[in-house]
C-alpha cells in the first residue's frame, strides 16, 4: 500500500479511492453556515487565546502574538454531521501542538471554549500529533465571522461541530465533560468514518 493511499488526519485508516466520502455523506460545493446563536464579533484588539486548566502555567496570546506563531497550511476534507462533506478545503492555522508546546499536563481531555458560550469536548490525543489547528484563514482569506472567524478550532478528522467556531481557548481537564451538542444527543467522539452521529452510534 503506497504512502499516498493514507490521508493525514485519519490516523492511517484506509480510504477507498472510489468512496472518498464517509458513510451517509453527500458532496457539497457551497459552504453551509450553521449557527446555534448570533455571530460574535469580538474586535481583534480584545481577542485572545488561552490554554488553561490542568497546566503548570496558563498560556495566553493576544491576536498579534497568536499570528506571530508558526503556522501551517492544511488541505483536507471536512464532514458535517448534517451530512454534507466538502473536499480539498484549504486552511491556515496554528497547530495545537504549537500551542501546547512546553505544557506539562496530566489531563487527558480538553474542552474548547468559544465566544457565544459554545463548547466542545475532545480527548487530548485527538488534537495533538498534527491532527488539529486553530485556523484563521480559509481559501487564502481571513476566516469570515459566519465561518468562525477570527479563528476556529479545526479538527477535520471528526464531524465538523468539533471544529468549534469563535474558539478562544482550550481547557485541559482530567475528566471528559460533554460539550454543547455532545450533551444533547450527539456522539461524544464523532468519527465520520464510523458514522458516530448520535449517542449509541
Amino acid at each position: 500500500m503506497g504512502e499516498g493511499f493514507f490521508s493525514r488526519g485519519f490516523r492511517g485508516r484506509r480510504r477507498n479511492q472510489d468512496t472518498a466520502l464517509p458513510p451517509g455523506q453527500y458532496l457539497e460545493d457551497g459552504f453551509p453556515v450553521l449557527s446555534a446563536g448570533p455571530t460574535p464579533r469580538t474586535p481583534l484588539e480584545e481577542w485572545d487565546f488561552s490554554v488553561v486548566g490542568e497546566v503548570d502555567e496558563p498560556k495566553r496570546w493576544t491576536w498579534e502574538e497568536f499570528r506571530a506563531l508558526p503556522s501551517e497550511e492544511i488541505t483536507t476534507d471536512i464532514h458535517c454531521v448534517t451530512k454534507w462533506s466538502k473536499l480539498n478545503t484549504r486552511w491556515e492555522g496554528v497547530s495545537v501542538d504549537t500551542l501546547l508546546e512546553g505544557v506539562d499536563t496530566s489531563a487527558e481531555y480538553i474542552t474548547a471554549y468559544c465566544d457565544g458560550d459554545y463548547t466542545t469536548n475532545l480527548p487530548l490525543e485527538e488534537v495533538t500529533g498534527g491532527k488539529a489547528w486553530v485556523a484563521y484563514a480559509y481559501e487564502g482569506e481571513p476566516l469570515e465571522p459566519e465561518h468562525g472567524g477570527p479563528a476556529r478550532l479545526f479538527v477535520p478528522h471528526l464531524y465538523f461541530w468539533k471544529s468549534a467556531k469563535w474558539v478562544r481557548g482550550l481547557q485541559l481537564i482530567a475528566h471528559d465533560i460533554p460539550g454543547f451538542w455532545e450533551g444533547l444527543g450527539y456522539h461524544n467522539f464523532g468519527d465520520p468514518w464510523r458514522e458516530q452521529r448520535y449517542w449509541g452510534d
Partner: protein, 86 residues
C-alpha cells in the same frame, strides 16, 4: 415506605397537559439574566438538521435547546428558570 410516592404513570395526565402547551404565549424567565418574556418573542436559531436553539432576546442565553436525533427529540430546558403554560 412513602405512601405519597407513586410511579411516573401517575404524572401522565398532568405532564401530558403541560407538554402540549400553546408555545407562542407560554411565558419563561431567563436563567441567564432573569428577564421574563413569551416564547413567541424569543430568538430562534435553526441549525439545519441538528436542532433549534431558543435564545433570550435580552442576553442571548440559550433558553431551550432541542436536538433532532433520528426521529426523536432531545430537549434541554436548563436555560430557563421556569415555563408557565396554559
Amino acid at each position: 415506605m412513602d405512601e405519597l410516592r407513586l410511579d411516573g404513570n401517575a404524572a401522565a395526565g398532568t405532564l401530558g397537559e403541560v407538554f402540549s402547551f400553546e408555545v407562542t404565549t407560554a411565558e419563561y424567565a431567563c436563567g441567564g439574566c432573569g428577564k421574563a418574556g413569551t416564547l413567541g418573542g424569543a430568538a430562534v436559531y435553526e441549525v439545519r438538521d441538528l436542532g433549534i436553539i431558543v435564545r433570550c432576546p435580552g442576553c442571548d442565553n440559550a433558553l431551550i435547546r432541542v436536538a433532532h436525533n433520528r426521529g426523536r427529540y432531545l430537549v434541554d430546558l436548563r436555560g430557563t428558570k421556569y415555563l408557565a403554560t396554559g
